[in-house]
């Protein structure tokens, strides 16, 4: 019975396959993409995550976007200027239509910014913006509370939504504009943007089918993909295998231990870029008295060998770090390099009166998906390095679902954290990771070092009011140097980004350090 049913199914499957095959015309280009996760919802304001932003770049357009050199490229805004210190005026592109057919105007920008200020995930970022004024159909002013140097950085997050499409009520009387976390809101199931692709179908958690938008405004875009499918493949090895076997054409990320295999494989190419996400160990000064002595903290910074971790353990998949700002960021200070020196570390420990060492606890997150084993391995390697200056580390790794609770409770003496600057700017690192913690304003919320240096804080705050890029960069570099000397945490590395694609996909021009491939512009050689 069972084998009969199976045979029947086989027959049926073959028939369906045969029926489907001729449907795909030869001159149409299909690109199949596998990421590690896919957004569950189509509402780009529901959650602030890399997956959502990747989707937003396919189905919407921002006012401006980052190019490969971390400078701004006009998209729906064609030009911009500062009429005064607290205002930025954007001139918008003419002749742009949404997927619904509605024309794009300044009204949509104003509506979108207001919606962003309501979104739980985005409102903190958009807090500096106080008012949006529509000047005419194609001109809009953004006002900030104080002089704010990062307004263009914010504009990369403004993906104008189709205000008419998202206004009104659904048949069952719900507000179409509502942002509902993990609920079945209108916006989570329907989408109308200006982007290069329209959403054909979404199977939450398994697949999103996109089609080229025929009325896309950007006629200069070289992109030639007609059908785009996104699938999530969470398991690293499976994702790599899917690319190597030709089941998908483009994958991201490529796990560290598969880099060699992908590099050697025929028919596919590997592309890497130093990333911007800093991983560090925060030394809690409230919990451990010894950590209040800067000599001890510096000794630990000298004891850890970032280069060995990067080359040996993580196979060159990370860039060793000695500061928070990666290259390209305003605050990146080229003088600050890893300072592994065991003798010096021992000397500093002796000077501080801790040559006998002490015992501390360490916690690290451990996600099955993002290089899961490596986190535990990194923690173990760091423990071994600290053991050489007689600091005994009792470490444990926790799944992500439990880690952040422990982190909020500052449950261990040393906490591992990975941080990505939402604004692609150095100040963000300081505000969240080193500012004196203040529960009222939320600054220093992720400062599990409990480090507090008002001098650094005021320098960064000064930089945040400075609209001259040169002077601002100088301040941030100085702040990095101060933190380097104080060593409230041990920076470990910036995670590199790695993508891999079939040879016929010309993926390199559309990649960037934000890990948001602009697939609307990608050129794919059609199959013969």
């Amino acid at each position: 019975m069972r084998s009969f049913r199976c045979r029947f199914a086989l027959l049926l499957g073959t028939l369906i396959l045969l029926a489907l095959r001729p449907a795909a015309a030869n001159d149409e280009v299909t690109l199949r993409v596998a990421y590690n996760t896919l957004p569950i919802s189509l509402d780009i304001h529901e959650q602030l995550s890399i997956g959502v932003l990747q989707l937003a770049h396919l189905t919407f357009d921002p006012l401006v976007r980052w190019n490969r050199h971390l400078t701004f490229e006009p998209r729906l805004a064609t030009s911009w200027e500062r009429p005064d210190a607290t205002t930025m005026r954007f001139h918008l592109r003419h002749g742009v239509v949404f997927h619904s057919g509605n024309p794009f105007t300044a009204q949509d920008v104003a509506w979108t910014v207001k919606r962003l200020k309501r979104s739980p995930d985005f409102k903190a970022i958009f807090d500096p913006i106080t008012r949006v004024d529509v000047i005419d159909d194609y001109t809009v002013d953004l006002h900030t509370r104080h002089p704010y140097p990062l307004l263009l950085n914010l504009a990369t997050y403004i993906f104008p939504m189709d205000s008419r499409f998202y206004s009104g009520e659904t048949e069952d009387g719900r507000d179409k504009a509502a942002i509902v976390k993990n609920g079945n809101s209108f916006a989570s199931r329907h989408l109308s943007g200006t982007g290069p692709f329209t959403v054909e179908q979404i199977h939450p958690g398994t697949r999103i089918d996109l089609e080229r938008f025929p009325d896309y405004w950007d006629h200069d875009s070289p992109g030639n993909v007609d059908h785009l499918t996104l699938t999530p493949i969470g398991e690293n090895a499976t994702r790599v295998a899917a690319l190597l076997s030709g089941d998908v054409d483009f994958i991201s990320p490529v796990p560290a231990n598969a880099l060699e295999r992908v590099r050697r494989a025929e028919g596919v190419k590997l592309l890497t870029m130093p990333g911007t996400r800093i991983t560090m160990l925060q030394l809690n000064q409230q919990r451990v008295p010894a950590f209040r002595d800067p000599r001890v903290r510096r000794a630990m910074a000298y004891a850890v060998d970032q280069d060995a971790i990067a080359t040996r353990l993580l196979k060159g998949f990370v860039t060793p770090a000695a500061q928070m700002s990666p290259e390209g960021y305003a605050g990146h200070n080229p003088d600050l390099v890893p300072r592994h020196d065991l003798e010096k570390a021992r000397q500093l420990m002796a000077d501080a009166g801790y040559s006998q060492g002490f015992e501390v606890t360490l916690m690290a997150p451990n996600n099955r998906y993002v290089n899961d084993a490596q986190m535990a391995q990194v923690a173990l390697a760091v423990s071994a390095m600290l053991a050489k200056i007689n600091i005994k580390v009792d470490f444990q790794t926790l799944p992500n679902s439990q880690y952040w609770e422990q982190f909020d409770a500052r449950a261990a003496d040393i906490m591992m954290i990975g941080w990505y600057s939402d604004t692609n700017d150095s100040a963000n690192f300081f505000e969240y990771l080193t500012f004196c913690p203040d529960s009222r304003t939320g600054v220093g919320f992720y400062n599990a070092s409990e480090y507090c240096n008002p001098e650094v804080d005021s320098l960064v705050e000064l930089a945040n009011g400075e609209t001259d890029p040169e002077r601002r960069a100088g301040m941030l570099k100085r702040a990095e140097a101060m933190v380097y000397d104080d060593a409230p945490f041990i920076p470990l590395y910036w995670q590199n980004l790695a993508w891999a694609a079939a040879d016929r996909v010309d993926i390199e021009p559309v990649l960037n350090v934000m890990n948001m491939p602009y697939l609307g512009d990608v050129v794919v050689e059609p199959r013969d």
Binding site: L10, G13, I16, P120, A241, A242, P399, F407
Partner: protein
Amino acid sequence: MLTFLLKRFIQALMVVVAISVVGFLLQGALGDPIQQLLGASASDAERAALREAMGLNDPLWRQYLHFACSALQLDFGDSTFFHQPTLSILARYLPATAELIFASAVLTLLLSFPIGIYAAIRPTAALSRFFMGVSVLGISIPVFLTAIGLIQFFSIGVSVTLFPDATPWGHWLNDLLSTRGGMPAYGRGNPEHVIGVWYTNFASWKGLSYIALPALSLASVMLPLFVRLIRAEMVEILASDYVRFARAKGLTPARIYTVHALKNALLPVITLGGMQFGSLLAYTLLTETVFQWPGLGLMFLDAVERADMPLITTCLMVAGFFFVVINTLIDLTYRLLNPRIALQMEPR
């Protein structure tokens, strides 16, 4: 018989209820779903609002009653990760696991009967000693090691340089022992769509190449078990009086083995095999982990990692339900087959 079934039904219900209570009570301990849903940047007010909306502030027994009532209507709640009914998620991952088990079952049955019968008929022959030795080895090698070995040999490849490569025989031996690799080792590839949520690996050579290594390693644990089982049954039956009588009557050995012995050995083997269902699931889980086979086992471990309690509880309850059903069926066949055994199984 009816009382037996009724008793069994009540027991099944108790098992499922017990599992649901355990799963439910652990809900609080397994990480915070609110934290998972909202991420670290959410404010306390937002957390409180969602907590209230999800009914997490009600007294525990009330939450449980609510849960049990919907469970009776086959509504086990929505996964906190997928935002879909948990049963539909189970259904989505079921085909992958079912196909893996099916493929290895076919392998197991095709091989275990000839080997088991042979080993029973000729217990002292060199070949059956070899088979039994291998089967001890097979039982003793953890399935994940077999799987890793298969990956090393058939996916990564092994180049042996044990013998002098300059000599022709050494070169030949090295070549013989080396493997090229290249078999897919991870995932299901791109299985063909059949119907609904069912995608199959059996419709193309490529699909089959993906299922080959996982099925082989799963079969490597089931095969020795069945070979030993079949041999043991056959040995017992061949020593029984009626087989001796049949021999004395002058029936051909072939007829004795196939008609008289095998027929009688078959049902105990199937029922005893059915009892291995639980182990089979455990081995499947391990196999799926090594090969990243996107089935129920991998999904379950992911759910544990994400503290997706509704999904975990549903998995446990469905598994528990199936165990009880299968065991009841086994007991029933036992009773039908052999009333003597049924009597023995009664505790009094």
